[in-house]
Symmetry: C2
Subunit: 316 residues, 2 copies
Amino acid sequence: MKDPIPSKEEFMQVCDRVKPYVHKTPVLTSSFLNEISGASLFFKCENFQKMGAFKMRGAINAILQLSDEQKKAGVVTHSSGNFAQALSLAAQNLGVKAYIVMPENAPNVKKEAVSSYGGSITESKSTLEARENAANNIVLEKGATFIHPSNNREVILGQGTAAAELLNNFPNLDYIISPVGGGGLIAGTALAAHYLSKKCKVLGGEPFGADDAFRSFQSGKIEENIEINTVADGLRTQLGDQNFPIIKKYVSEIIRVEEEEIITALRYIWERMKIVVEPSSAVALASVLRKKEKFRNKKIGIILSGGNVDLSNLPF
Amino acid sequence: MKDPIPSKEEFMQVCDRVKPYVHKTPVLTSSFLNEISGASLFFKCENFQKMGAFKMRGAINAILQLSDEQKKAGVVTHSSGNFAQALSLAAQNLGVKAYIVMPENAPNVKKEAVSSYGGSITESKSTLEARENAANNIVLEKGATFIHPSNNREVILGQGTAAAELLNNFPNLDYIISPVGGGGLIAGTALAAHYLSKKCKVLGGEPFGADDAFRSFQSGKIEENIEINTVADGLRTQLGDQNFPIIKKYVSEIIRVEEEEIITALRYIWERMKIVVEPSSAVALASVLRKKEKFRNKKIGIILSGGNVDLSNLPF
């Protein structure tokens, strides 16, 4: 059995493997946001990634690690969010079939996005059990490989390549902050910082309304979200047993933020940086603005996780 | 008296003069927009310019061309839009006082933006006559130099530096398309293409609901907007006698677009390119999508004019 913590060698191989299939996204700065935060902020713009989110990285790596036989039988996931699109597009780019289980009440715009990337949709009831059953059936019937959106070693490693690019460009960062949802992005980010920097600490930003990671971090075991209430729809998911050991070992702190803080940070990014990002992406900036004393005069990488938003349903 | 058409030498001097004071904005591409247009599109992102619009370029050039004595007495304009902010910030950066006449009913957010860049606001009634009178009074009382937002030789030349940067990066463009409002941007763009490219033609995009440039282009003399009705609020202004001779000589065509076409193009830019641009910025893309046959397989530069929008009042 593999060590639950991937090695530096394994991580560096992933960086090389993923590179040809993803955009090297730009890093933006904002003199206004530096001024109001009192820090130097470096925004890694995964909203400009293929299909609009960092999830492309993990999906590509997970499929590339399959055997030829596995690739022939296809991949399956259940997701109504970015990972559904990411797995569809990654599979399409690699000539692999992707089966996507989506809740029957998922918005049409999301189903259309998955279809446009070549994903084959199976609808299920919206309970987790129904979605898992539908995915299991596809595994049994088609021989497809199930790929979890965040609790999968290869997905975690792939997500870490965003932070690796950031640290290659800006090796002197004191901190990298990423949003925490299912835990794949922050676990991969923590591995990247651990292996590529001597001093860079990784922190997570999380809404009070979905603070499973904060509480898990406190108790040392995976805690569940009970009542979920946040505009950051990408962060409503749970940590898992593949990413939590990495988070526990290599993440320094989880900072929780209020909904108004998320919306204020989101508005700053749209208005001042002139870029479209998801509410989930604003959580890391909101964390910096909430704890200005801690971050004063520090160099901070901020992972902007994605830019897929419904423009007809904005929080401002 | 100077030739109404600035020379290549004069334009190149402006490029050198303006350069240290503005961002060299990035050029973005979108495989999706290339696919649906059938062309290769190169978006010059002036939404990332200082204060969020190309207007910074013309404002900087106009102030830099003043004598020391003139600089000491300050500059004045009347505008409720981007030029008010541009002149304020450009003046602040150059240690010059800026007086901005704004209609008393201008939105608070615009007044605050001008104040935040150090502009000194004088309120007037919202008629053109009242605004001109208020500006004239400041010229008389303070000795300040009046700088028109678009009908000013130095402003026109400054605005052309965006297209100059674009052509330096992509010398093989077949067309550059810019929105047409007051005429400063397109006139400057036409000069840039004329002096820096052998084959690149410049076209203007204009809403049917403010088509003074199209009609002026047809009749050969400046026509007025009668009923103005467009979401592209930056394009509600009139051509002037400084920019029209340049437009007449060096612009190939003005393409008019419907309001729905502007909003569709705007949505594509936000959703697919993940950037925040003003409705006025979408008019050039809308023109390409309206005339696909004309532009098929061509290399087209698109000037995205700016990104200052009211997020609480979006057209979708």
